[in-house]
């Protein structure tokens, strides 16, 4: 079989291809949606997935996510696309049950068996998640795109929303940041094979364990970090919860080489769009260097969970995370009361465990 390099014909990779958040937020204005009391989480809070109450005991969690290739190899692409789609269900606290594939593919990739390899990668991750593939829909399209719609179940009381952060909570991120710049570096042949492999492993890692840890530590508020970057998703969480967040840039776990790639100007157009998106709500301390600012808005593909941990459970969460998670996690900041000013304040120095959990 021909060896394919899926990066060859794409312009924007992975979640960097998202429609800018600024444009999405205006989209539903003036569109009348059917009012339904069973909708517990809908489009208004820009949460990771929708929640629909079936009974007092059970809710549906529904999400859909697809994007152009994020890896050279088809199986990696399939794994990452599946991990990314499943992540929205985990970020809500749900258990994924069924999935449908969304496929847009040039006919030559279908004929060459590339689509089969992508699907094989996705199936591997679905098996790991205990989620069944029921079918899907495919369209011939000159630009490849692949993803899943995932449906899960959750008890109404277990819902982890992005609107439940409380002042005093500590922000923990469960995967390193930097997939956007590293994908660019791979395309520019400036990343090493090890850096590329480490990124692929990271993106293909399910957020299942991270979500389970959050639940074990009594966490109520979680979001996953994807196309709008760490600051974009942090801002959405802060707005939905009506709180403000303090971020310590050096505490954010990073992929190897990511800061150098940002410094050398390997940023995607989406990274700049994300900077514009958060600009009205973010204040940087003077000493935060430009590459640090850039990396905080780097669009992530299949990023980690941003967990708002009650301060009393922080040590427990961090020690379990270090033991059980395949990816490095980090304390990235803390939640404070909204002041009416900008929602995000970024300083250079990391928050120590003591400082982060001191109210």
């Amino acid at each position: 079989m021909a060896i394919v390099d899926l990066f060859e014909s794409v312009t924007e990779c992975g979640c960097a291809a998202k429609v800018p958040a600024q444009e999405l937020s205006g989209l539903l204005r003036g569109v009348e949606l059917p009012a339904d009391p069973a909708v517990l989480v809908g489009p208004d809070t820009l949460d990771d997935a929708g929640i629909y109450k079936l009974s007092e005991e059970q809710c549906l969690v529904q999400t859909v996510d697809f994007f152009p290739p994020v890896a050279r190899r088809p199986e990696d692409y399939g794994r990452i696309a599946a991990a990314n789609a499943l992540s929205d269900v985990y970020a809500m606290g749900g258990r994924p049950l069924t999935a449908l594939a969304i496929v847009c593919m040039p006919s030559r990739l279908v004929k060459d068996g590339v689509l089969r390899d992508i699907t094989r990668g996705a199936a591997e991750k679905l098996r790991e998640a205990g989620c069944t593939l029921l079918g899907g829909h495919s369209v011939l399209d000159p630009q490849a795109k692949f993803g899943l719609s995932v449906t899960g179940l959750i008890h109404p009381k277990d819902v982890l929303s992005n609107a439940a952060a409380r002042p005093g909570d500590v922000l923990v991120l469960t995967k390193p940041v930097g997939t956007g710049v590293t994908i660019m570096a791979v395309r520019a042949q400036l990343a090493s094979a090890e850096q590329e492999a480490a990124m692929n492993r990271c993106m293909a890692t399910l957020n299942a364990k991270a979500a389970a840890l959050a639940r074990r530590c009594g966490v109520r508020c979680v979001t996953d970090v994807t196309g709008f970057g760490l600051l974009g998703h942090a801002m959405q969480l802060a707005r939905a919860s009506d709180v403000a967040l303090e971020i310590g840039a050096e505490g954010v776990p990073l992929l190897d080489g990511a800061l150098t790639f940002a410094e050398e100007g390997l940023l995607s157009a989406a990274a700049y769009t994300n900077q514009d998106y958060v600009a009205p709500e973010v204040v940087y301390d003077e000493e935060v260097p430009q590459p640090q600012k850039d990396i905080l808005c780097d669009p992530q593909t299949s990023g980690g969970l941003l967990i708002c941990c009650p301060p009393g459970r922080l040590r427990e969460l961090v020690s379990w995370a270090r033991e059980e998670l395949a990816t490095p996690c980090g304390v990235v900041g803390r939640v404070v009361a909204a002041s009416g000013g900008p929602r995000l304040r970024v300083r250079r120095r990391a928050f120590s465990l003591e400082e982060a959990s001191a109210s």
């Binding site: 000159p142 042949q189 100007g265 390997l266 995607s268």
Partner: protein, 202 residues
């Protein structure tokens, strides 16, 4: 030494990559771009390498003039692989470069027939190239309806890497008709040509 990089029409990371390569040898590089992302990224690159940068917006593009600082600009390990090591030029693979669907200059019909014959014969002669790169009208040889298709497919099946220029396929609206090999971009093609021990151009 001054060098100009025309990166108009190119998406990131290409403007950054081409500027970086130029900075390795030239003292002054003028990179011409046509979008704000490229301006921001090339500016970041210049600063990270200790270079001064001036931005001039003109009607036909944004001109970024970069003056190298005192420190030499070096490429990282992955980058260095792209440059041909000057001491051992013959160490790289044999590359067949096909920039036209006609063999030689003369009547088109004859040229096309000769090209078909060439690929038919190539199946039986040695040494075989490691890579065949099809560019410009050359891409017409690897799409549906090409008289050389069957022979090129046999060569590909025998392990020869067959690359078709994506820009060229797009230009001729043949992307969907590609029948053998894979689509490639200028960066990869340039890398392959520079790394080659020997290039045979038809």
């Amino acid at each position: 030494m001054k060098q100009t990089v025309d990166a108009r029409g190119l998406l990131c990371p290409q403007p950054v990559v081409l500027t970086l390569k130029a900075l390795v040898s030239a003292d002054e590089v003028v990179t011409i771009v046509d979008n704000q992302t490229a301006v921001e990224n090339v500016t970041r690159l210049a600063r990270s390498k200790g270079c001064a940068i001036a931005i001039d917006k003109k009607a036909d593009g944004i001109y970024l003039t970069i003056h190298k600082g005192d420190a030499p600009v070096e490429m990282t390990q992955a980058d260095a692989a792209v440059t041909c090591p000057s001491g051992e030029p013959a160490a790289g693979p044999l590359v067949l470069f096909v920039p036209s669907d006609c063999f030689g200059r003369g009547p088109e019909e004859l040229g096309e027939r000769l090209m078909g014959a060439f690929f038919h014969t190539l199946r039986d002669v040695e040494p075989k190239p490691a890579t065949i790169v099809f560019m410009n009208t050359g891409v017409k040889l690897v799409v549906e309806g090409s008289r050389a298709l069957e022979d090129i497919r046999a060569l590909a099946d025998s392990g020869i890497e067959v690359l078709a220029c994506g820009t060229c396929l797009g230009y001729f609206k043949l992307m969907e008709k590609l029948s053998v090999g894979r689509v490639s971009n200028m960066f990869d093609i340039a890398s392959i040509l520079l790394k080659a021990g020997k290039i045979v151009e038809l």
